[in-house]
C-alpha cells in the first residue's frame, strides 16, 4: 500500500474530482439525450445577448439543480417516519462518496490497493442504493412505497448481473484487489472475458442508474416521481448529489475492471476520459432507443439474458485461471 500521507491527500482531492466528473457525465447524458430528440439541450455557449443575464454556459446544469434545491424549503409530512426519512439521503451520499475512494482514478491509486477492495466497493455501492429504498419507504406515501418496491425488485436482478460480472473478472485474475485487477495484462481469452463481463456490468449500470428500459422506479407518468415523490428541498438535493457520485463511481469501476491499464497511470488520463465519454454515449443510446419495461418484463429479461452470459463469462474466467 502507498504512503498514508499521499493516500490522505488523494482522498481529499477525490471528493471534488468525483463531483465534477459526475456532474459532467450527467450533463453529457442530458445533452446527448436532447440531441437525439432533435432538441438543443442545456446550451454549452449561451447566446451572446442573454449571457450577461443568465450566465455564459450551462455545462454545470446538474450542479445548479442541486444548489437550487439546497436553497428551498424542505417539507416533512406528518405520516413519515421522521428519523429514517431525514437521515436516509445523508447515508446514501456518505456511502456513494466513500465508494469513490476504493476505485482507482488515473494517477490516483487511493484505497484501491487495500485487501478485498473489490468487495468493499461493491458493498458500498449496494448500501448507497439501499438507502434510496429505505427513505421512500419511510415517507408514508403510496407512490414512494410503489417506487421503492419496484426499486427493490430491480435492485435484486441488477445486483445479480453486477456480482456475476465483477466476480468472473476477480476469478480470472485471482485477486479481489481492484488495483491489481486494473493493472492486469491482456491476452486473447481476457478480451473475450472483457466483452462478456463488460456487457453484464453495463446492463447492471442500466438498472442502478435507472436508464430507460429499467426506469420503472421513477416512472413519471405512472407513479409521480417514484421514490423521490415526498422528498423536497435539501433532502432531494442530497439524493441528487448521491446519484451524481454514484454515476462517477459506476463509470470509474467499469473502466477499472473492464479496460485494464486505463486507470493505473496519469498518462492514461486521455484514454480514461475517452472511454468514459463513450460509455456515457452508449448509456444514452440505450436510453433513447427503448421504452419503459414493466417490472415483470424487466425481471424476466434480466434472468433470460444475464444468467447465460454470466455462465459463459464464468467458463471463460475459469479457463483463463486454469490454463493460462
Amino acid at each position: 500500500m502507498a504512503d498514508p500521507v499521499i493516500t490522505t491527500i488523494e482522498i481529499i482531492l477525490m471528493v471534488p474530482v468525483a463531483l465534477i466528473l459526475g456532474v459532467l457525465f450527467l450533463f453529457l447524458f442530458r445533452k446527448l439525450n436532447a440531441r437525439f430528440q432533435w432538441r438543443v439541450g442545456p446550451v454549452i455557449r449561451m447566446y451572446s445577448d442573454l449571457a450577461p443575464l443568465i450566465g455564459k454556459t450551462r455545462i454545470w446544469q446538474p450542479l445548479y439543480d442541486i444548489l437550487k434545491l439546497f436553497g428551498k424549503d424542505t417539507i416533512i409530512t406528518d405520516v413519515a417516519h421522521r428519523r429514517l426519512f431525514v437521515y436516509s439521503p445523508y447515508f446514501s451520499l456518505l456511502f456513494a462518496i466513500s465508494a469513490a475512494f476504493f476505485i482507482p482514478f488515473p494517477g490516483m491509486e487511493l484505497l484501491s490497493s487495500v485487501p478485498y477492495s473489490l468487495v468493499i466497493a461493491s458493498y458500498l455501492i449496494i448500501s448507497s442504493i439501499l438507502f434510496t429504498i429505505l427513505g421512500p419507504v419511510a415517507s408514508g406515501s403510496p407512490w414512494g412505497a410503489i417506487g421503492a418496491r419496484r426499486e427493490v425488485e430491480l435492485f435484486l436482478v441488477s445486483e445479480l448481473s453486477f456480482v456475476l460480472s465483477i466476480f468472473s473478472i476477480a476469478l480470472s485474475s485471482g485477486t479481489l484487489v481492484i488495483s491489481e485487477i486494473a493493472g492486469r495484462g491482456w491476452s486473447a481469452p481476457s478480451i473475450l472475458l472483457s466483452l462478456t463481463s463488460g456487457l453484464l456490468l453495463f446492463v447492471a449500470m442500466l438498472g442502478k442508474l435507472h436508464i430507460k428500459p429499467f426506469d420503472m422506479p421513477e416512472a413519471e407518468a405512472e407513479i409521480v416521481a417514484g421514490p423521490y415523490t415526498e422528498y423536497s428541498g435539501k433532502l432531494l438535493g442530497i439524493y441528487f448529489l448521491s446519484k451524481t457520485f454514484l454515476t462517477y463511481v459506476l463509470v470509474a469501476l467499469f473502466i477499472a475492471l473492464i479496460l485494464p491499464p486505463a486507470s493505473t497511470s496519469i498518462f492514461w488520463l486521455p484514454a480514461w476520459a475517452f472511454a468514459a465519454m463513450v460509455l456515457v454515449f452508449l448509456l444514452t443510446v440505450v436510453q433513447v432507443l427503448n421504452p419503459r419495461y414493466r417490472i415483470n418484463n424487466a425481471l424476466y429479461w434480466y434472468v433470460k439474458v444475464v444468467i447465460p452470459v454470466g455462465l459463459v463469462s464464468f467458463i471463460i474466467a475459469f479457463f483463463i485461471r486454469v490454463v493460462a
Binding site: K72, D73, T229
Partner: protein
C-alpha cells in the same frame, strides 16, 4: 447575487397543474417544452411531483369540485414559489365566469383561492408568450428568494 440565488434563476422546475380547461393551453404549454422552442436550453424542466417544483403552471377555469385539489397542490410546492396562470380562463374565468347568478359548476380563475403572480392571457397563448410568462415568473422567483430570511423555522 449569491450562488444559490443564481442557481434558482438557472434551474426553474415547472409543475403543470391542469384545472378544468379545454386542453388548448396544455398543448401550447407542452409545445413550449418540445423541440421547436426547447425550454431545457435554459434549464427549465417539467417535473412530476409538486414537491420538486419552483413554478406552478395552471391552465383552465377551476371547477368547484377541483378547489381542494388546487389548494393542496399549491401548499405542497415548497417556498419560494411562483404561480403562472396560462390562458384566458386561468386569467379571469373567461366566458365560464358568472358573478350574479353564480355559475353552478365553475368557480373561475385560480386567483380566487391561491395567489397568482403572472398572468398570460390568450386563447390559447402562443408558446413564445408562455415562455415570456415563465421568464417573468423566474424574475419574481429570484426576487422572492433573495428577500427571504435565511433563518426561517
Amino acid at each position: 447575487m449569491g450562488i444559490i440565488d443564481r442557481a434558482r434563476v438557472y434551474s426553474p422546475w415547472l409543475y403543470h397543474l391542469h384545472c378544468g380547461g379545454c386542453n388548448g393551453c396544455d398543448i401550447e404549454t407542452l409545445a413550449a417544452l418540445a423541440p421547436r422552442f426547447d425550454a431545457e436550453r435554459f434549464g427549465i424542466q417539467l417535473v412530476a411531483s409538486p414537491r420538486h417544483a419552483d413554478i406552478l403552471v395552471t391552465t383552465g377555469c377551476v371547477p368547484k369540485q377541483f378547489i381542494p385539489m388546487v389548494k393542496r397542490v399549491y401548499e405542497q410546492v415548497p417556498e419560494p414559489k411562483v404561480v403562472v396562470a396560462i390562458g384566458g380562463c386561468a386569467c379571469g374565468g373567461s366566458l365560464f365566469y358568472e358573478e350574479e347568478p353564480e355559475n353552478y359548476a365553475i368557480l373561475g380563475s385560480p386567483d380566487l383561492m391561491i395567489p397568482v403572480d403572472v398572468y398570460v392571457p390568450g386563447c390559447a397563448p402562443k408558446p413564445e408568450q408562455i415562455i415570456n410568462g415563465i421568464v417573468q415568473g423566474i424574475l419574481k422567483l429570484a426576487a422572492k428568494g433573495s428577500s427571504r430570511k435565511r433563518r426561517e423555522v
